[in-house]
């Protein structure tokens, strides 16, 4: 039996919960959230540190508390959700097949919202040589063990990659009594937020070695040690700089990839820069009625912006359900080589938009400019811009001067 729904939301993390609550507020009542974990809340359940919600709620909350704010809303509004439910298939007709302990479920939705989050890059993705012993974890997996399952992952730890989760885990492992010997970063700058370098590493005297990587792994059953080398400007290990560390645990914090396996099944086109779908100003993908927000669209550094993005998406989904389509979005948003990407990638020119973007490398005293027909239509001056921090620029529809493509560039003073 196929069950009809106005909106199916795939993923009950921060983006899915925020989208659901806003949709219900706007009067869309026939909503269902499908969540594959035992409990809703997504990655926030294991992010027990504080610092969430400073933008959105003007107070510092832990991840679970931030999630609870939205879960309370979803509960009070009586929004349906199923947990322990894995979506197996979606197609371009918005047909959804999911599996639960009771069996298969089949849905036909008017709109699908993909809030599937992101996954971690692994050892395979960065090809570290050496043996394959136990004791090597991605940072998120280590966080699941320590914060959700009460399993300590090791005693003597090295962390490869300076992503925020790796930094957070450096502090967490230290608090739990482990010795964190070092954090290594192959790039000449840190990829996590400066405040996390400060409060997670410097507070606990954990050294951060930039331009360093792991070049060998030792140990048969359990990790026994690693070799660390300095890298040159082309990120190649420099012979003669090897340094051995004895450790039983290596935590990898080497990047996140938007999770889009289901979207791909439905024929959604991805952007090779974000690795999330190409969307228009309505967060709609190339497939009519399939929308995406949060880390599935592009990896965020702050959950507050995930919630806001999902709420904006909800507004667009309401319009889609009421009107069935949107004005055509044929104005492309392009970038120069200093801007890594923008979201959305195309707009109509008939709606105010917020462009989210990241710079490719750290910059000082620069300006980000939005151009159309080679004319500057908006400028944002920045004392510093780093890849770790997402930048947003709001552009009113009146500020656009034509239906020509938009280009986002960096200018130096």
């Amino acid at each position: 039996m196929t069950i009809k729904k106005d909106v199916i939301i795939i993923g009950g993390g921060p983006a899915g919960l925020a989208a659901a609550a806003r949709l219900k507020e706007l009067g869309v009542t026939d909503i269902l959230i499908l969540e594959r974990e035992k409990l809703p809340g997504g990655i926030l359940r294991q992010c027990i540190h504080d610092g969430f919600g400073l933008t959105r709620f003007k107070e510092a909350l832990s991840g679970p508390e931030y999630a609870a704010r939205f879960l309370d809303q979803v509960g009070k509004m009586d929004i349906d959700y199923l947990t322990d439910t894995t979506v197996l298939e979606i197609d371009s007709n918005k047909h959804v097949i999911a599996v639960t302990k009771e069996g298969l479920l089949e849905y036909q939705a008017k709109a699908i919202i993909m809030t599937t989050g992101c996954r971690e890059r692994t050892r395979g993705a960065i090809s570290i040589p050496g043996t394959r012993p136990a004791g090597i974890y991605t940072a998120g997996v280590a966080q699941t063990y320590v914060n959700l399952k009460n399993i300590m992952v090791g005693k003597k730890v090295v962390i490869l990659g300076s992503g925020d989760i790796g930094l957070i885990m450096a502090r967490r492992m230290t608090l739990e009594g482990a010795q964190v010997l070092a954090v290594l970063e192959i790039l000449p700058y840190a990829s996590g937020l400066p405040r996390n370098i400060e409060q997670c590493l410097n507070d606990y005297s954990i050294p951060l070695f930039l331009s360093h990587t792991v070049t060998n792994i030792r140990g048969k059953e359990r990790l026994e040690g690693i070799t660390v080398s300095r890298v040159d400007e082309r990120l190649k290990p420099i012979p003669g700089t090897e340094n051995d560390y004895d450790c039983d645990t290596l935590i990898l914090s080497v990047g996140l990839i938007p999770e889009n396996e289901l979207s791909l099944m439905a024929g959604v086109n991805l952007d090779s820069r974000t690795r999330g779908p190409i969307v228009d100003e309505n967060y709609q993908t190339n497939i009519d009625g399939i929308f995406v927000a949060g880390n599935a669209l592009h990896v965020h550094d702050l959950v507050d912006f995930v919630s806001i993005e999902a709420e904006n998406l909800a507004q667009a989904v309401l319009a889609y359900i009421q009107e069935g389509s949107f004005p055509q979005c044929s104005i492309r948003v392009e970038t120069d080589d200093q801007v890594g990407y923008t979201v959305p990638q195309k707009v109509s020119g008939q709606k105010d938009i917020t462009l989210s973007m990241r710079v490719r490398s750290p910059l000082k005293n620069c300006a980000i400019q939005v151009l159309q027909n080679d004319q500057v239509i908006k400028t944002k001056k920045m004392k510093k811009a780093i890849p770790a921090e997402m930048i947003q620029m709001r552009i009113k529809k009146e500020e656009l001067i034509s239906s020509e493509y938009i280009k986002v560039v960096v200018r130096h003073d």
Partner: protein, 123 residues
């Protein structure tokens, strides 16, 4: 003397450059995008404070741990002492969000509070 700080109070992570006079008073502050920057530096010089987050064991619940944090920041040098106090605790489910787990921990006038709800496991 000029000292550099990175403010940890919010995700902006402002790079603060501070000029201190001989009595360690701030004579000039640059880089702060809000007024809390000055307060942060003042505190960082004289008595740095941090909040901590960890977990407490729970028996009979729908999960084995409940996450906790402190009601407010504590002096940095007390972090591991407070961790030791928290490690001694074992709770019985249910636990509610906001529940005080340790009142006035180590006399620091800060409470350890649960940041998650743990339900009693139904069998």
């Amino acid at each position: 003397m000029i000292k550099e700080f990175i403010c940890v109070l919010c995700p902006n992570g402002c790079e603060l450059s501070v000029e201190l006079d001989d009595n360690n008073n701030i004579s000039k502050l640059e880089g702060a995008t809000c007024q809390r920057g000055g307060e942060y530096v003042q505190q960082e010089i004289f008595a740095p404070q941090r909040n901590i987050a960890t977990s407490v064991k729970v028996v009979g619940g729908n999960m084995p741990l409940v996450s906790v944090r402190l009601s407010e920041a504590i002096p940095k040098e007390k972090i591991f002492d407070v961790m030791d106090e928290i490690k001694k605790i074992k709770l019985e489910a249910p636990v509610s969000l906001g529940q005080v787990i340790i009142k006035n921990v180590l006399g620091l006038e800060r409470d350890v509070i649960a940041t998650k709800q743990v339900l009693r496991e139904q069998f």
